[in-house]
Symmetry: C2
Subunit: 584 residues, 2 copies
Amino acid sequence: MLSRYLPILEWGRRYDGSTATSDLVAAVIVTIMLIPQSLAYALLAGLPPVVGLYASILPLVAYAIFGTSRTLAVGPVAVISLMTASAAGAVAAQGTTQYLEAAITLAALSGVILAVLGFLRMGFLANLLSHPVISGFITASGILIATSQIKHILGISAGGDNWPDMLGALAGAIGDTNVWTLAIGIPATAFLFWVRKGMKPALIALGLKARAADITSKAGPVIAVALTILAAIVFDLGAKGVNLVGEIPAGLPPFAMPSTDLTLIEQLWVPALLISIIGFVESVSVAQTLAAKRRQRIVPDQELIGLGASNIASAFSGGYPVTGGFARSVVNFDAGAQTPAAGAFTAVGIALASLFLTPLLYSLPIATLAATIIVAVLSLVDLKTPRELWAYSKGDFTAHIATIGITLLAGVEMGVIAGVSVGLLLYLWRASRPHAAIVGRVPETEHFRNVDRHNVFTVPHVLSIRIDESLTYLNARWLEEYVLERVAEKPELRHVILMASAVNEIDASGLESLEAINHRLRDGGIGLHFSEVKGPVMDRLKRIHFLDELNGKVFLSQSRAFAELAKDDGLQSDPPDDFPRGMI
Amino acid sequence: MLSRYLPILEWGRRYDGSTATSDLVAAVIVTIMLIPQSLAYALLAGLPPVVGLYASILPLVAYAIFGTSRTLAVGPVAVISLMTASAAGAVAAQGTTQYLEAAITLAALSGVILAVLGFLRMGFLANLLSHPVISGFITASGILIATSQIKHILGISAGGDNWPDMLGALAGAIGDTNVWTLAIGIPATAFLFWVRKGMKPALIALGLKARAADITSKAGPVIAVALTILAAIVFDLGAKGVNLVGEIPAGLPPFAMPSTDLTLIEQLWVPALLISIIGFVESVSVAQTLAAKRRQRIVPDQELIGLGASNIASAFSGGYPVTGGFARSVVNFDAGAQTPAAGAFTAVGIALASLFLTPLLYSLPIATLAATIIVAVLSLVDLKTPRELWAYSKGDFTAHIATIGITLLAGVEMGVIAGVSVGLLLYLWRASRPHAAIVGRVPETEHFRNVDRHNVFTVPHVLSIRIDESLTYLNARWLEEYVLERVAEKPELRHVILMASAVNEIDASGLESLEAINHRLRDGGIGLHFSEVKGPVMDRLKRIHFLDELNGKVFLSQSRAFAELAKDDGLQSDPPDDFPRGMI
């Protein structure tokens, strides 16, 4: 029981020296990768760079204790940083104490929401984000993030929460471009693109093994950081108008308190919920992919608790919302991490960096961090998915494009809400008009198939309807209309058989519709019968009076139902008084 | 085409004298019933009584032109009046011009929402209100409405939007009870109860035919109105502190303009949407019930347009939101109405009343109207449904009780929203974990049944899973977990067959999960096969590359799939290189 909520008790018991060595190696590589990333993502979130380091220490320790993935690497990620900037920017101006407080409070709220959803086992809510909605949201976020960083490459000031505003602000300020900043930003971006695409082949050509080349190329951003710091010092770029990171207070994360101001919480809980769900969905899909590769398992409801604990830890150590990141988790996995202890070791690495390395970062140009972000997020933009969705499903395509469009035009929060709403509306629309077919017997078999698709045997006084869906409130009204319309088309009709082989559930609204159908058919002298009702459905129907009032029978198989009722050839004008009722 | 949007063109062409006579008779009876009702419901909505008359003239004409039910009687109804009071009360104080303007604007917004939903054919949205939610809402509204009228019976002032507040206010003011008001209110209530329960048997005992007795007893409220007016005049009750209706401006409805103030519209659109949907659902279920009795049909999407036109007509003639009422429609039907012209004739009757009868109503005690309301709405309270739901479905019971509880405690709007949300959450929760079964062959047949319920034949290297649900984004994650867990339990496994007889759709998220399953099973040297895939599902899968990449086959029937794969007895350790792919 305890180890369900504390997975560390499970893997910690078998922890040994060789596992520790693997975890340590992975931790060193992830630390090197994470330092520039955390600074950059804090910048993207509109926060002081050091906040990115704070968000990469205690949250990793918390996840190591509560998380179920062996290899997930938690910390600040691009999309969540963008959402944080949008939510905190709505309540305070960047650079103010209120803005930082809002970011910390977002982490705390998000942590509480995640943990509560985990304890209530509400992980299924993440299902509301379909693949097309998620991928549309990620694509649009990638475009928004990359656009938001162009100003740092140009060395200008430009704002905007949505794409048209951002582009307009950039166009308006482009005249102020600082050429020295550009001289750092363009080469840094080009270099990082090469690191991503060309460095690994080049290293292999130089004789490195594929895996070593792969991991070494992850240190590319660190090279860019080092080189541009050097350039900034040598050419005294700070005096030439190039924005530098500047003083970063060295030291461990401070103890911070999220705000308990109810007005602020009221403003932030919806964005916090969206951050939680987007973060959870992204993190779980990364964790599941990696776990499957080693035939391990993750527990989604416990992942909610793990990520919740991470975010609460982030809030109390002056950080902002975090989640499992894709790129760093893959690096962690590839570098051989065996247990969540690798995350704890990474935390130690980042803590050492924030104690001792921060003075070195004084001359780091902001443009370098912007280049890191741009190169990282452009891989989020996925132009293949819309084409595939168009070919496969127009409904899914619509949800995807709506999510992209509204995210770009109205910002990240409206984008997620619109995507979920469009997906849900399309689902409910389809669920409200499910598939059903009039069936007949395939000659010389006991099979019954759709009369429109197969050459089958029917009789005019018996109508067999196969319903290919559970009967729930979403389609209860449809059911009444469908059955009564089919009946109205057939004047000789004496018996209707509902073939319920695909009906897994009948809820109270579905039952009420069946009662209405039974009632109306009886008024018209028509019997209502059922065939192939599943065991659990039948068990529930027996608990109430429906079967007593049914003007017909329940048959075990459709072929028996059809054989018996087809014999009733309509020579009697009314069903006999002793018409049998109930289960056969 | 035109007659689809204007049903009057359909029935109007065949209109003749005998139909007109039937319609006229029904109209007279409904008019007599509607006069006290419209005054009372306007009172309930917090509006001057005459507004109830205005809302019972043009809306009926509009419905006669655009509506598809032959017998639905439109006008102010209790639940919608309560919702109007709640929404208008949130933006202005009762008795002010702003309050009346808010009510008129609600009618206009509701009319536009209904008409737009109708043109977009979005009637399916009404499905979101399940039977348990609707019946819970109606029960709670009945309790709220009856409670809100007690003050008029006692002759005291008391407010409150929810039940605890109302009861508190009543308890606080009960000392101010006016005995003369009580002397009108209690007998009026008792008389009206008797009219409802005892008058029809009494009239039959006096020799009237059942139908005549039934219709005559509908005039009971008019008798109460006449007697209490007489009492008020004879005993000069106005001077003794009994609230009377007072001056009602005689005349036809004025031309009114809904507000175009965007702030007001922003405040009112959510309540207007809820009023629209509740009104539509109630109206359609009444219309469907009556139509089925005469084997007629209604068209739900056109009903949206009909009710939309009614509400717009109500707004422009100084009325408030209207919908099809249950009691008056039944009376209309029983009195022999044949076409919507009966509604138009009723409108003429009400117009005559508002021209000539209003002076007579000067001395009508408010307590009489309150008694009318109390007796009418107590029939809305349904104590049988919760017990039936408890027996049949705990989920539906939860939605029902949540709706009642939150409506009573937090008011009508929160009640509807909570009911819909709870219903949807429970639905999504169930949809996220659908039914699936491991199946085996029933000996000496070609049938495959659940291994847990039947004695069936299986082999250890073939796993047949029957999925009893469409594969959509709501259950895509479940599908991956379910299949991979089952596979992990069986080390000798070489083939997985997904029996898709109940899969009516695979959306993009479901497809992505199938791809992930295919990929992971292939990594483990296990084939993934499908059987009994439905035609439309197969057509769509063929449009993309899934079948090319499938590490297995698609079989027409489960029995062929099992027969072929069971022969592959695992002597080879890997699937052969020429492993056949694609459709057989």
